[in-house]
Symmetry: C3
Subunit: 328 residues, 3 copies
């Protein structure tokens, strides 16, 4: 029977995909500025875990409807989100159209500066062991970029790729009554040609995690590049953030290399952040990591990483993790 | 290996469907009684977004087991639920049997009065732009009907369709210790024959959102009808709610029309609610909307709506939205 | 187009399964020590409801990657979790490898003592109507075992089955800074041969629900056995828990039988728990249940249960439930 409203919709579900990634590791962790060491069974050693549903529908004439719903979760505890303030579909929740004109999408969407910072270092988007990702996005590491790595209430336009170039514009609305000026804006330009890739991403953010009654705005810029010499792939990136309301400027640099050996890759990366506060002494943080990532298949890998972190005024400290990542 | 308990169950998952709906719009919104205007990237301009899993199993002799698990979410922020008090499977979570006798289901289930109010106006179940849905169900519009549009702890019986008629009874238990009398009850009768359709739905509710220590009961009735003249489809409905503990009666009327033009439909609807409180001056709210809904496919449409709202004691104000809806 | 990051991953989703279980019942419930009776539409009369995603990938040489993500939910209200403190994937969230060596998995995992207590009584894992499960795991029944039935931050090794024997070790990390000693440990040995099955499970827990500043440790042991005489299957189990910080020892015994008749099974079980507190008078709880479980198919059954509960100092009281369970 079809009496319930739930049954009224005859969806052609053929184009829908369920997918995700689990990542768990055994680790011994200590930031330079932490008072003690924690041994743990952690989540997301290499990639923050998530699951999702996505789909597309051909509308004719090269036009497509597309959507993605993606929920971060913690493999160690089963909790949804990266932290207790995340919404359920914290990684992506958007719907849009794609075609010859490019792609236009509406909803909660990944910040292209986050994608860029992850693409131009050998440890990818790891928020446990990638030095530059920790400096840029991890609150416990006094992240350089405010406003989170995913933006809500956002409109994104991505151009088609032309001569290796692709541009995107992401606009996040603040939704404050009678205050249209409170909004986020990111512009990104990606280039890829053979072994070379590069990105420029600039943004001005005014809303989201990290913004408060006294911190109303931040400007940020990132440039990154990588070159694959086959025997080794090199990665570099530079960032600058300015947060005028707290008179703070942060400059971050990252250098990294990945060396493929058989089914594995050796990884090395160092990031350094200089934080200057007008009228106060600044701080410097240097974090480096060495790792090995072994692929059992295209979807499953085992990894081991050693990382060392040092912040001005604290002694250096090491962290280590051994884990497994699986994509489905 | 099959050593983990999770692996012990060999489900025949062939009949399970993943489905849902995303809906996002860019809007400028102001209720008559709001102090200011908000520009936003909103969710659910035409239909509140959701995703779900449903399935059925043939048990032989025309008998079927059925279930649905459906979670409302917000396309703009990825948050689950329509608001912060919603459970995860806020739209539906029920299991039941269907056969020649009709359907019997247990769990959290959509209130048939909500289905009726959405079916007999041209803007459907929109809680952003359907005047009658805003008056009836939206808390910020001082909703006429208490107890929410989905009932928890509910048993539903739906009859087979006979000569175009189908009846349903929904009984929601209050689950209060030693107080069986606290419960919800809805009776609905649907009729459909060719271009004509109609509904009568009556209910008495005592538990759920809106009921408090001082508001213990509400009686509500709705009648609706529609006729499809091909060139235009007309919709009408009348509602009355009585909430004796606050000496309040609300009368709502809706008139609407939809005109198909090519792949689109022009939509118009007006709703008016008279709220009388014994011993106090009453209020009147009038809200109308004009819209155009363009179907790129059966599953994907683009829409534009202008709505105007006026409540006694406040000046009229307009809202506008342009959005996209996609079913999967 | 493939411009969004969400689209970059070309997952081979063929091995992923969506599955779950719904269970709802109409009941009249009263524990011996409750002041009143509650009539309800409840969830999980026979099995706590859940939904999940699981998958496996063949890595060659008999090696497999495996994962499971499972979320308990309440069929009556749609709420996720068994209670308000549960994470989203409260039932399981783990990733691991399986092969000739057995299985190794990391994440949130079901406690084998929970599996054992459910396997060796005729009402299975029911937390509404299985006497021994109520005594052991239900907080409202003053559960004997602390630390929950699912452990977070856990590593599990399960051996291959050899001559009917299979061993498992589950180690749950407390993740307290500079305090490695706070952890959970369970050892289990399962045996199965023809109509006979048995289990021994011992554990020491120090972290999880039930542990507080004043309750720091609990030791627990369980032995269980069952024999299937065809005309009747008998189940027995004995448990002991010791919680030194509150000077408490609890001894629980269960006897049960299941008699298959056609497509159904008659079920009977009694559990008795003696709780001794040094320097205080002890308590005794006796709970028994009689039920009938009728299978409409392998996946769908209807059940009716009567249960009687008596705790020292309170009068006995009966509960009754009639419900439906469906696996998908």
């Amino acid at each position: 029977t079809a009496t319930h409203s739930a049954w009224a919709q005859a969806a052609d579900a053929s184009s829908v995909q369920i997918y995700g990634l689990l990542d768990a590791f055994v680790g011994s962790m200590k930031r330079s500025d932490e008072p003690g060491r924690t041994k743990l069974l952690g989540s997301g050693g290499m990639t923050t875990a998530y699951w999702g549903v996505r789909g597309s529908e051909s509308l004719g004439g090269g036009l497509q409807a597309q959507f993605a719903l993606e929920s971060f979760f913690q493999t160690d505890s089963g909790t949804f989100g990266r932290n207790s303030t995340d919404p359920y579909f914290s990684r992506n929740a958007w719907v849009g159209l794609a075609g010859g004109f490019g792609q236009l999408s509406l909803g909660r969407q990944t910040n292209p500066m986050f994608v860029a910072s992850g693409a131009f270092n050998p440890f990818g988007v790891s928020l446990q062991f990638s030095p530059v990702m920790l400096h840029t996005w991890q609150p416990t590491y006094n992240r350089a970029v405010l406003g989170d790595s995913v933006w809500s209430n956002a409109i994104q336009y991505t151009s088609p790729t032309f001569a290796g170039l692709r541009a995107s514009l992401l606009y996040g609305m603040g939704e404050v009554q009678d205050r249209e000026g409170i909004r986020n804006l990111n512009l990104a330009l990606n280039y890829a040609a053979g072994p070379f890739a590069a990105v420029v991403s600039v943004q001005q953010a005014k809303t989201g995690p990290g913004f408060t009654a006294t911190i109303g705005r931040q400007d940020a810029a990132l440039i990154g590049a990588s070159y694959d010499f086959k025997a080794v792939q090199l990665y570099g990136q530079l960032q600058r953030t300015r947060t005028p309301d707290i008179r703070t400027t942060a400059d971050t640099a990252q250098l990294g290399a990945a060396v493929p050996v058989g089914a594995g890759r050796f990884l090395a990366s160092v990031a350094r952040t200089e934080r200057k506060v007008t009228g106060s002494p600044g701080t410097q943080r240097t974090t480096w990591a060495l790792g090995y990532d072994h692929f059992l298949s295209k979807r499953t890998d085992l990894y081991a990483v050693y990382m060392r972190d040092r912040l001005t005024g604290f002694s250096g400290s090491g962290s280590v993790g051994v884990g497994m990542r699986h994509r489905f």
